[in-house]
Symmetry: C2
């Protein structure tokens, strides 16, 4: 795997340039102008030496697996939100960890955690480094330093149970490697989020990731049947059965815990026989509500295809100029399922053939590359996502769209699609593009604060699949209430009494040593 661009997304060789029609739109409709703020070279940035002496860590994981050079530390600084990229391009590396530590397995993770707990060194579990919600930027105050615990060496397929159709993977396995390891034995996880090229198995579990084919395979938290977790207080092993009546489902405490309660070192997940391939088709609906009705029908009465994803009028106009109404991309395993097509037709859908759908599939992981090109051109580009029940979805859509239209200080382009469907509701995924102001970080933060409030006021969840990190910690507290945040803090105090695990993430800043 090629190392991720430190000041942007993905494989540098796969960088893309803006399509001409988008370029024209930026210039003419949005007033986007070059900002003249390119990033300098990586090796021009020199970090101060580590704030603590990491030699004890070398004893645990071996000399070459503790890295304190500037480049390694900068590559483990924050994540890949637009604000993260704007800041690192501007040379802001004050959140860089003091050391990058690469343990070889569960026992070494335990030892590293104990070492760090004794010395009040904060630990950021690091998988693919793809967080877009500030999940990799802990609070430093009160700590002797910060370690990025890079799980890259936990890269094995531990076990495959073809009878139960489960696979046990170490947490550091990246998604493409997981698919390769499983494909060799005829299986797939079927988990393809937009971060697929870099994201890790442990990260999927720690953030309740949702993939593009969730309609077929489920969210990642629905795939997980077992977890092995290292905490400063010892090991946890959960999952003796697919489902159990033995008390609360404790797997669900670690799923979504974002590294604050323990370090997930192994995940046992449901796998499926690998399909021969996928087919993608485009369907047109007269309006966004009409299309939502069709998706709801599929989600409630079935059958569901592998994916069904519905763009609003604005996203449709940009993706497929000239098409009136709303487009849905529908993915099938192997070949289109007539029963699905019958539901789509009955709900007012018109098939537009396979080719545009296949084009979507070819470009499905390109959006974050496109964002880099937009930022280069002087545009601000970011995404916002939420979910609620079907009956509340139209009002949530209106509220979030109106809020985004009004809070960037300049006219934005706001696009939306329904990305994941359930019997009782669905998620909305918004993309915003506008001209950068003189201070684009503040520009976005202000809009983000407004949109978080709008989501909660309209009854939506603060995140359907990006997670909480630091960006949504206040929203989480509002969503579940301070009493339940406190209950989670109580769990954290038991598992991580020194509070070293990703401090400030998820639970906000009142947790700490």
């Amino acid at each position: 795997m090629t190392a991720m661009r430190w000041e942007g997304w993905g494989d540098p060789a796969r960088a893309i340039s803006l399509p001409p029609q988008l370029r024209a739109l930026l210039d003419n409709a949005l007033g986007v102008r070059p900002t003249g703020r390119p990033a300098g070279p990586l090796d021009a940035i020199e970090l101060p030496p580590p704030a603590f002496d990491p030699s004890g860590l070398r004893t645990i994981v071996g000399e070459p697996n503790v890295r304190t050079g500037s480049a390694d530390r900068i590559r483990h600084t924050r994540g890949k939100s637009t604000v993260d990229i704007l800041r690192i391009r501007a040379g802001s590396v004050e959140d860089a960890p003091d050391a990058v530590v690469l343990p070889a397995g569960h026992e070494e993770v335990l030892d590293v955690l104990r070492w760090c707990a004794q010395r009040r060194v904060a630990v950021v579990p690091f998988g693919g480094g793809t967080s877009v919600v500030g999940g990799l930027a802990p609070v430093r105050a009160g700590f002797a330093g910060v370690v990025a615990l890079d799980l890259a060496r936990l890269d094995r397929l531990v076990a495959l149970d073809p009878v139960s159709r489960t696979a046990t993977l170490q947490a550091g396995v990246r998604a493409p490697a997981a698919e390769e390891l499983l494909a060799a034995q005829g299986f797939t996880l079927g988990h393809f989020p937009q971060s697929f090229e870099y994201a890790s198995i442990g990260g999927f579990a720690a953030t309740r990731s949702s993939g593009q084919y969730s309609a077929r395979y489920g969210r990642f938290d629905e795939l997980v049947v077992g977890l092995r977790v290292a905490t400063p207080q010892g090991s946890v092993g959960l999952g003796r059965a697919p489902r159990s009546g033995a008390g609360p489902d404790l797997r669900q405490l670690f799923l979504g815990s974002e590294g604050t309660l323990g370090v997930i070192t192994e995940v046992t997940a449901r796998v499926h026989p690998a399909p021969v391939g996928y087919r993608h088709a485009w369907w047109r609906f007269a309006s966004f509500p009409d299309g939502m009705g069709a998706l709801r029908r599929l989600a409630q009465d079935g059958p569901l295809p592998a994916m069904v994803r519905l763009a609003d009028e604005y996203e449709t106009a940009l993706t497929a100029p000239g098409i009136d109404g709303c487009l849905a991309v529908v993915a099938f395993e192997a070949s289109p399922v007539p029963a699905v097509e019958a539901v789509l037709r009955a709900a007012g859908g018109t098939p537009l053939g396979a080719e545009p759908g296949e084009a979507w599939a070819r470009g499905r992981f390109q959006a974050p590359y496109l964002r880099d090109a937009l930022l280069d051109a002087g545009a601000l580009a970011e995404t916002v996502e939420t979910a609620t029940f079907w009956s509340g979805l139209p009002a949530l859509y209106d509220a979030v769209r109106a809020c985004l239209m009004d809070n960037l200080g300049t006219p934005p382009l706001v696009l939306c699609h329904v990305s994941h469907v359930y019997p009782t509701g669905a998620s909305l995924y918004f993309t915003v593009v506008c001209a950068q102001s003189g201070d684009p970080v503040s520009q976005w933060r202000q809009a983000k604060q407004a949109v978080n409030a709008a989501i909660l006021a309209a009854g939506g969840t603060i995140s359907h699949h990006h997670g909480v990190g630091t960006d949504h910690a206040a929203g989480l507290a509002e969503e579940v209430g301070p009493l339940m945040v406190d209950a989670l803090r109580a769990v954290k105090r038991r598992l991580d009494p020194a509070g070293i695990l990703n401090p400030g993430i998820l639970l906000g800043t009142t947790v700490g040593p």
Copy 2:
């Protein structure tokens, strides 16, 4: 609804007598003899006055809703396990609550909890009173007394959202009433556990109940999308979307919490359009492993019928004498699905027609009535259930069966069926019948201890759907580890600092004031 028999199960008018062939089997093969230990009349038992003055509770819920008479208190004593019934028949009422309190709604529950917390009065949330794992018999030591918090007055359908297909029901609604309320609007929960006739919505949620048609509708914890909970520290409201990436799924902390973390007062659950009816058919397989293979095929590759339930050779021999091999009952909504039948045929199944399946359906809630008749006849009859992944299921079956055969001190009849299936595994449900020894309570407790150990040693979960209560608390600690039990205790301390909520249940006896 007719009041449940205080010294047995169900509606006294529906009591059944033993079928002659079963009677003969008890007499001849198991050596069962009448024990001459019938229960005396209810009104012959006089309880001492309440250990504390409940007049403050009368101010909260109203005079008639605090009951301190012996009959009311005895009817709220423990649950409906075989040991519970044996003990109450023997006049053992020392676990009776001091008062039965019937709040009218969420706010009154909050007030009752605060009142009890201030006075160190333990609170047992009481729905249908159907626990078979000691979930209604808290530890008394250290408390001023015990209140049974009967939720019978929380009996409303609060809201029905036909677009999202969700219903919000108060926790005290009994399952038959819930079905009636929903049927009036064309919907069903589809949740039919054996306790259906008496169990409550809140109890389903608090214990992660699983119903007979779980293959079609899912377990109850999978139906729940929202919860309202009253705790001594205030209210909790959870569930803004079907699924969320906003941290751990906190609904999952209360599902299975068995009244120890809070009192669930409202449940929002997925509902389905009510089917026109169900059809049941019997299928024969040459062996239990053959049948398991067929079930696994349906669970992994679909389509699943509404129910598929496979008896082992022993249960088959008793249920359908003369049929060689193993019987499966397959339930369909409306009419048999050819694609399901094709899978069953391909996996070696032979259809035996509808009539025996319909007979099963007519008798589906009769087992606990039959148990009363067995106890009356001098037999010991109890059930044990567990679950694991498909690859471990045969070994788990062998281990539990062998353990039960060896640990009753007399030759037992041990029957088993696979009751619930998932893509990665399934549950096993054992029924044991044998002659009562002179001390049947000890006889069962000894066997139960052995079988709990056997389940855990074979990798099964300590309970698939009966819950933890007191009977499985030690097993839970072994299953999830003492660290995670402590993490749950930390949650409890935050929500219930006085430790009044069902003390000793779920988390064992080291929790307390």
